[in-house]
Symmetry: C2
Subunit: 407 residues, 2 copies
């Protein structure tokens, strides 16, 4: 990345867990200055697992990379006033506020508009009416767990990846940037809102799954097969496992060629009067195809499978443990993952935004220590004197790292 595209943007973030913080981090990784505001003792996500051996949260450190951290007790009137001032700072790229607060703590758009009429505000919610929800509950409610896992068990399987959280963060960033482009042209702000439950519904809708379910009833879980085409997993002779996918005719042909099963499938097509060049036919015969291919994989170690599949241009991937994936990423100098020196943790493998700009990636930055930027931000952004900051500290309106840990 030559010049970070969002270096003109200054975002105030008052959010916890995954969606809000990942939205702010994404904007920061594109060059925006992102101030995260927390209560002096930290947000409810500050100690979230996984933890480093030091006890610090690897989760928090990785969702807040590159931000500045300011701690303010926004439940107090004086603290709330500071947050309003920071949110409405002057400047063409300021006046961008993201939060997921509800109830009494939430700053209203109206009180921000009193100070700055072109505010862009994004509220991240569970349900659009403000009721709480988290990834695990919206995923269950939208029908995905009953489609996941082994065929026939009837038991729902939750996804482990908080996919809706991550997607909510990215879509919130999309909404904010759309509003920024508009404000650059018209001078007008925007009142934005995104709810996890809407993201999940919109997501399954985009795949055609809502329309499908109304037409055909719920789709049953079908193990690791790829719906509507051919794709499944195979074990190798040395206990490794690979995911094989044949979406296109070329991929299917490559798979038949490398496994030497072309004549078997030709004969099968004749016997059953089907055409396996069609994706739908491959899906319908997925168990049969899998059974015919399986011996080829189970007779070979992963090294041989890898070489043969790559040479034949089969679409495939190995199953890895997270540890193996991390170790490989650490070795790869072109990867979006690299080590940072994280305060409170030490050397830590961290990742940057996956958007590559002019051929390169930005390096990941470490996360701040909670409250590390409070004094500087109050002085430089709000023009407070050392004595004023000292008084706020003493009254517990704001926090700094030493104090936060002591309290």
């Amino acid at each position: 990345m030559t010049t970070p595209p969002l270096s003109h943007l200054r975002v105030l973030e008052c959010a916890t867990f995954v969606a809000g913080p990942s939205c702010g981090m994404t904007l920061g990784q594109l060059g925006a200055e992102v101030l995260r505001v927390d209560l002096p003792q930290g947000g409810s996500d500050h100690q979230r697992w996984p933890l480093a051996t030091s006890g610090a949260s690897l989760y928090w450190a990785n969702l807040n990379k590159g931000k500045r951290s300011v701690t303010i007790d926004y439940r107090l009137p004086a603290g709330r006033e500071l947050v309003v001032e920071l949110a409405t700072r002057p400047g063409a790229g300021s006046g961008v506020f993201v939060d997921n607060l509800v109830g009494r703590s939430a700053l209203t758009r109206a009180e921000l508009l009193e100070r700055r009429s072109d505010m862009i505000t994004m509220r991240i919610l569970g349900f659009p009416d403000g009721r709480p929800a988290v990834d695990y509950t919206v995923n269950a409610a939208v029908g995905v767990p009953y489609m996941t896992g082994l065929a026939g068990s009837g038991e729902p399987v939750n996804h482990v990846l908080p996919a809706w959280d991550l997607l909510t963060g990215a879509m919130a960033a999309v909404g904010l940037l759309a509003a920024v482009t508009q404000r650059q042209q018209t001078g007008e702000g925007a009142d934005l809102q995104i709810a996890l439950a809407d993201v999940a519904l919109s997501g399954v809708g985009a795949l055609g799954w809502l329309a499908e379910a109304l037409q055909d009833g719920p789709r049953a879980a079908h193990g690791n097969h790829v719906f509507g085409s051919f794709g499944t997993d195979f074990a190798t002779s040395d206990g490794e496992r690979v995911m094989i996918v044949a979406l296109t005719q070329g991929q299917w042909q490559a798979l038949c060629d490398v496994t030497g099963t072309g004549a078997v499938f030709d004969a099968l097509e004749s016997a059953l009067g089907t055409d396996l060049r069609e994706e739908s036919a491959r899906y319908e015969l997925r168990e049969t195809i899998g059974s015919i291919l399986r011996p080829w994989f189970s007779a070979r170690p992963i090294a041989e499978v890898r070489e043969d599949l790559d040479r034949a241009r089969v679409l495939w991937g190995p199953y890895r443990t997270m540890s193996d994936a991390a170790a490989l990423a650490r070795q790869d100098a072109t990867s979006v993952a690299s080590e940072v020196e994280q305060p409170g943790i030490g050397r830590m493998l961290a990742t940057t935004i996956p958007v590559r700009w002019n051929g390169g990636t930005s390096a990941p930055a470490p996360a701040p220590v909670l409250g590390a930027d409070t004094e500087q931000v109050l002085a430089e952004e709000l023009g407070l004197s050392g004595a004023e900051i000292g008084a706020l500290l003493q009254r517990g309106v704001v926090g700094v790292p030493g104090r936060a840990e002591a309290s």
Copy 2:
């Protein structure tokens, strides 16, 4: 939404499957004009499952809502020239190009820059070096399937939701919009790239999972439990199922109160010398907590469970089938889902973008019929005469709906 924020933007999309098309659709749902270019016979995703009873693809119809469809054989020199002309159309909001083509078909950034020096181009890839990958293979390679599903099985469980595809589409839109804000300020274009494999690595990195795995080794699958806190599923007396989550102290207290188990957990804390107000303690004792809570759920039908949990403000959600989720969304007038009249399919439940603008959602628009806008776009955007368009049709350089079906 009052004025769509991206109505100044005109995007040319030359992409298939989920990531590219969902990127374009997202921009379109915020007001951009999105032209999707396909080969006259359709892209490899045009017949992708799930299908409507008419045989048309519900998948395609839902990933291409609100776009215009132009069919051009860009493998032919004359077709390629037309795509270059459309991609480099004049206008401050034009010159935005998204594709996932590789090999000979791919338009190079260099040939676009010859016509327009401020092009914003986004290439969507499997791996950053251009090798193919799909959601199923990158998910396996990044370690998530070995963390998913029942404890102890050791078998990987694929997610069914193509989460990395959807996230790639959203992050591609973020990158494009960041570039648009920059171009509005500096007049400079941008060379952008995003790879599915990078998105997956960046995503698990953001959650702290790479750092965790290097420190602690791979995390084992642990069923439907929420990692690092308390959350799991329970069956009700009438065969329904609910997901219960207690991340905060308040949520945990509400759960103890409504189930009348407070004294049991108090005694358990004394007996084991632990403090269940701590998330980590709840996670460590997740099986025990689940066993103590289970009888309360299994003794009650879902209607009673729902009423009690809502009254007590427990964080929970029902498990639903996709059909039930769709039926509920269809009834809800405030939902992001509503019915559209989809050409080739009929009434179809479709969803719009989950970003709510000034309190409202935009209505979903139907997808175009393949090639429906070819003639109008060639005439209006490129100034071609009817005779010129007729000649291109005859030579098979471009397509229109009738021809496409006949070929």
